[in-house]
C-alpha cells in the first residue's frame, strides 16, 4: 500500500486556496492516489512522470493538482495545486527551476512521520482486511506489508489478534511510536493484551490481542471539525 505525502512547497499552494478547496484537493489525493499512485495523465515536458489530479468542486470551480510517485520508496507526493486556469503553467515553471520536487527537509519530515503513516495505512486497509480475517478464522491475513510496517490480522472467536513485526533481517524496523499508533488505530482506547510470545516463534513481532470490532462501526471515522455556527 503506497504511502502519501505533501511537500512543504505544495503546502504553500494549499494555504493560498480557500479552505474548502484545499481540503478537497487533499481528500482527492488521498482517495485516488491511495488506490493507485500512478493514476492520472502524465504532464508533457516534465520527467518523473508528474501526473495531474482533478479536484473539481460544485459551481464550476475547477481545481488541479500534480503528483509524483517515487517508486523507490513507494510514496506518492502531492507537489502542487491551484486553480485550473494557471496551475499547469506554474507547475512547468517550478519544474524548470528545480523547485517542484521534494526537498531534503521534506524527506526528513517524511521519515519523522513514520508513525503517522503507519496509522494512516492501517486505517485505509483495515476494513477489507478484517472482512477477510473474519471469513477465514484462525488464518493470518495481511493488512499492509510493503513498505514497512507489516501488519497482520487474525480472528479467533470473538478476539482479534494484530501482529506487527518489529525486527527483520535488517534489524529493528519499527519504533515504539509506530506500534502505539497502530494499536490506537485498530483498538482505540480499549484494554488489550500486548504479548511478545516467544513460544510462537514470533520473537521478532509484537502481538496485540483485543475484542473483535464490529464491522458496522469500525474503523471509527476520523473526527471532522466544522466551524462553529453563529
Amino acid at each position: 500500500m503506497t504511502d502519501l505525502a505533501i511537500t512543504a512547497r505544495c503546502w504553500a499552494d494549499l494555504a493560498a486556496l480557500p479552505g474548502e478547496v484545499a481540503e478537497r484537493v487533499v481528500t482527492a489525493f488521498e482517495e485516488r492516489r491511495g488506490l493507485n499512485p500512478e493514476h492520472g495523465e502524465a504532464m508533457k515536458g516534465i520527467a518523473g512522470p508528474v501526473r495531474t489530479l482533478h479536484a473539481d468542486l460544485s459551481g464550476g470551480r475547477s481545481v488541479r493538482a500534480a503528483t509524483w510517485y517515487d517508486r523507490s520508496r513507494d510514496v506518492c507526493w502531492l507537489l502542487a495545486a491551484g486553480w485550473h486556469d494557471d496551475v499547469y503553467a506554474r507547475i512547468q515553471q517550478l519544474a524548470r527551476m528545480g523547485e517542484l520536487w521534494p526537498t531534503a527537509t521534506d524527506s526528513a519530515n517524511f521519515e519523522a512521520d513514520a508513525p503517522i503513516r503507519a496509522m494512516e495505512r492501517v486505517v485505509r486497509a483495515a476494513r477489507a482486511a478484517l472482512e477477510s480475517a473474519m471469513a477465514s478464522p484462525g488464518t493470518e491475513v495481511p493488512v499492509t506489508t510493503s513498505p514497512p510496517p507489516e501488519v497482520y490480522f487474525r480472528v479467533d472467536g470473538d478476539t482479534l489478534s494484530v501482529r506487527v513485526p518489529i525486527f527483520d533481517e535488517r534489524g529493528p524496523v519499527l519504533s515504539r511510536r509506530a506500534v502505539a499508533a497502530i494499536q490506537a488505530a485498530v483498538f482505540g482506547d480499549q484494554a488489550l493484551l500486548v504479548e511478545f510470545p516467544p513460544e510462537s516463534g514470533y520473537w521478532h513481532s509484537v502481538l496485540m490481542v483485543g475484542p473483535l470490532p464490529s464491522l458496522d462501526s469500525w474503523p471509527p471515522p476520523s473526527q471532522v471539525s466544522q466551524p462553529a455556527q453563529p
Binding site: 521519515e111 519523522a112 515504539r176 511510536r177 490506537a184 511478545f196 476520523s222 471539525s225 466551524p227 462553529a228
Partner: protein
Amino acid sequence: MHGRGERQKVQTNLKLEPAIAAALDATAAIEGIDKARIVEEALQLRAALMGPEHQELVQAALRVRGAADPAVRLEAIEALRGEVAGATPGGSVSVTAALAKLRARTLRTA
C-alpha cells in the same frame, strides 16, 4: 568478577521456526552483533510496550484520530513523530497533518 555460581545462565537454545531462526542468523550477520543481543533488544522493546510511556503514546495516537479540536490533533501529531535529523517542528508531510492544519485555519477564520 562473577563466580561460577553467580553467573546467570543464558538461554541459547531457542526453539524457533526455521524461517525465524534464519532471519535471526541473517540479522546477526548483517548487523554484526550477537544473536542474544538482538533478542535482548526485542525483550527491551517488549518491556517498553508494557510501560506508562507506551500508554502516553497510545493516547497521543488516539488524539490524532479522534480529537475534535484540530489544534489538539496537531499537537498530538508532533508528540507521535520520530526524531530524525533535518526534520522540522510542525513540518509533517502527512495527509493527516495537512487536513488538521486546514481545519484549524478554517476554525480560526470562521
